[in-house]
């Protein structure tokens, strides 16, 4: 084997390495990693109660914080262990127990307004993150149970404490059984 061929091979390999290195470096600086799609995917695993128990103003901000590495995945009591597991799987991290500092798991509940006591002050309306309370000033308010996420954010603004959380009304999710005749 001639020396020329060896030198040639080394040069070609070196040139290739340099070219690819420059191309990759340029791509890394110019093409943003798709942060939004990661936030979307994390957000899709959160229960969307918008309750703020994670101390972020809603599920999406918490998802953004997780994506940015600013928050751990153990702050979502409504999602419970299942959500932590799903997040751990998505982010390829070990699952961990819920951090009790952010509250413990509770049974699913929905807000209910005692219409006898409601004075129609309308203060709970903007507090509801999912617009599940119907009402107007000096009119009776009521909760659309099917849309309430049980976040409890309507409780503090109520001046007469007429809102309470009740167990989710039994929804029949019927599976219609096909039969052989």
């Amino acid at each position: 084997m001639s020396t020329d061929a060896v030198v040639m091979a080394v040069l070609v390999a070196a040139a290739l390495a340099v070219t690819l290195g420059v191309a990759l470096g340029w791509a890394a600086s110019r093409i943003e990693p798709d942060a939004d799609s990661l936030v979307e995917r994390i957000d899709a695993l959160l229960p969307q109660t918008q309750c703020g128990q994670c101390r972020y103003p809603g599920c999406r901000p918490y998802a953004a914080a997780i994506a940015a590495g600013a928050a751990e995945i153990d702050r979502c009591p409504p999602g419970g262990a299942a959500t932590v597991r799903a997040l751990a799987a998505l982010l390829d991290r070990p699952p961990r127990p819920l951090d009790p500092a952010f509250g413990g798991p509770k049974p699913a509940r929905v807000a209910w307004i005692d219409e006898e006591r409601c004075i129609g002050c309308a203060r709970c309306l903007p507090a509801c993150p999912v617009d599940a309370i119907v009402g107007a000033p000096r009119q009776m308010h009521t909760v659309i149970a099917a849309q309430c996420t049980g976040c409890e954010l309507c409780l503090p603004p109520c001046p007469v404490d007429c809102i309470e959380l009740r167990p989710v009304p039994a929804v029949s999710l019927r599976y219609r059984q096909p039969r052989a005749a």
Binding site: T49, G58, P126, Q147, L173, A181
Partner: protein, 494 residues
């Protein structure tokens, strides 16, 4: 007709049909009271249109509905509405609001019940509407409103009406008894349904273990001289009478996963439904009664009974000579897909084809059986009529692995129970799959609710933001007006 290509697997079971089928249909005397569940077995209820105390005659409308999965209810006897309340009922969940009517012993008939002289002149749409008003629903076991099925068949231009006389489930023989005694009604109803469905052909399918019914229907078809009306004798294999499996056997076409028989060009109706349609056409009578098998080792004289809808099951059992021995379970339906009932006070529903009073002799083999680990013998896969892999599904169901359950086709499971039946480890597979399907439904509902909440939250935040900026802008406007250039702010604006 295409060469017969049978659905995969299935199993010839011990049918236990001779017990009830020996004697002619017993016509039940009008009971003292009927309990009409608003939900007749589909999970969707009608709305009462009578109040407690109202006098009703035979055929008076007592509950109406616009829901495609619910059917209207009519008083099956003359008398008074004595209660409208939640009671035990033969529906999933075990309870439904019921209209209770006490009979007055008369045979007054509602003025609205008049023969339909022009059934042949009605358009398919009008026919379907009249059948809906008459409360006619599938009598084969699902109780699905006939008119809804007809409409979906017309939408998909199904060409074949397949009349289901297979009756494959052990113990049940009410369709057999009906075909033997009223074959002409079945054929007349079939022709009306064929027109209402916009179909061109009608095939009546009967399993080969019912020679008397086959002979009766052959005779009735012969009297009609209609080339597009044929009889197909099919092998007696469980679950031959399941809609999808029957379509495959008779037409050679497989109903697509997630689709309807109409996607394969077929609409299925039960033979008893056809007979009810004929009854309506000849007398104008809405669906007031049905034939039901009362059987099992727990009754004295198993038989088939024609009884008003709503008849308390205790009255049906009394008509069969009463209880015998130690009944263990009262089951609506047969031994494979039947559902245990809470008490014998529940009323007969349109969907109930059999009252099975089971003793230890009938169902004892599996009672108290200890579930053993799966040994992966594959017997379940070799009998599954839907071509699924129950052992794999079982692993996925235990792990609650939703994606795996979906990929393995748990939705195509028809709850026939054959995998349970053959499992040497006595694993309650069908139960597990039913539960898995429910969990999939729940997960889908939760995901939908979360998606809705997210959308509502986004709109809420956008609205708050807009309100904030609008308020801010208004404030700025005022401030600009107050501090006009050159003005001395201390003078005041006005």
């Amino acid at each position: 007709m295409a060469a017969r290509s049978r659905f995969p697997a299935g199993l010839a079971l011990d049918t236990h049909k001779q017990q009830a089928c020996g004697t002619p249909i017993v016509e039940l005397a009008l009971p003292a009271q009927v309990v009409l569940a608003l939900d007749q077995g589909t999970g969707y209820g009608a709305e009462p249109v009578v109040a407690v105390g109202a006098a009703v005659a035979m055929g008076t409308l007592v509950a109406r509905t616009d829901h495609p999965f619910a059917s209207a209810l009519h008083a099956p006897l003359a008398g008074t509405v004595v209660a409208i309340e939640t009671r035990a009922a033969a529906v999933a969940g075990g309870r439904s609001v019921c209209i209770v009517i006490a009979g007055d012993g008369s045979d007054r008939v509602d003025d609205g019940v008049t023969p339909v002289p022009d059934a042949d002149a009605l358009s398919p749409d009008e026919l379907a509407q009249r059948l809906r008003a008459a409360g006619i629903a599938g009598l084969g076991g699902a109780g699905f409103p006939t008119a809804t099925k007809l409409a979906s068949a017309r939408d998909r231009r199904a060409q074949t009406l397949l009349l289901n006389g297979a009756e494959c489930e052990p113990w049940i023989c009410c369709d057999d008894a009906l075909m033997r005694s009223a074959a002409d009604d079945v054929v007349l109803g079939a022709l009306i349904l064929r027109r209402a469905a916009g179909a061109v052909r009608c095939v009546i399918a009967i399993e080969d273990d019912k020679p008397a019914a086959i002979a009766a229907v052959t005779g009735a078809i012969g009297r009609r001289r209609d080339d597009a009306l044929t009889l197909e004798v099919i092998p007696a294999v469980y679950p031959q009478g399941a809609e999808r499996q029957l379509v495959t056997t008779v037409t050679g076409v497989e109903v697509p996963s997630g689709g309807l028989p109409a996607d394969a060009g077929v609409i299925c109706q039960n033979v008893a439904t056809a007979a009810a349609v004929a009854r309506w056409a000849t007398s104008g009578e809405p669906l007031l009664s049905r034939v039901v098998t009362v059987t099992g080792s727990g009754v004295e004289r198993p038989c088939n009974v024609r009884a008003p809808i709503g008849t308390p099951l205790a009255a049906l059992i009394a008509a069969s000579g009463g209880y015998r021995g130690t009944p263990l379970r009262l089951i609506a339906g047969g031994s494979m897909t039947g559902r245990a009932l809470p008490s014998d006070e529940v009323g007969l529903t349109k969907a109930m084809n059999c009252v099975f009073v089971a003793t230890r002799d009938d169902i004892g083999a599996r009672l108290g059986a200890v579930e053993l680990p799966c040994i992966r013998c594959g017997d379940c896969a070799s009998v599954c009529p839907a071509g699924l892999l129950p052992q794999q599904l079982h692993r996925a169901a235990l792990a609650d692995a939703h994606d795996a359950l979906r990929d393995l086709g748990v939705r195509d499971c028809i709850d026939c129970g054959l995998c349970d039946y053959v499992c040497p480890s006595q694993i309650p597979l069908a139960d597990r799959f039913r539960d898995a399907k429910r969990r999939l439904d729940e997960a889908a509902a939760t995901a939908q609710k979360a998606a809705d909440a997210r959308q509502r939250h986004e709109l809420h935040m956008r609205r708050l933001q807009e309100a904030a900026t609008a308020e801010h802008r208004a404030f700025e406007d005022v401030r600009r007006r107050v501090r006009q250039p050159g003005d001395d702010p201390t003078d005041g604006a006005d």
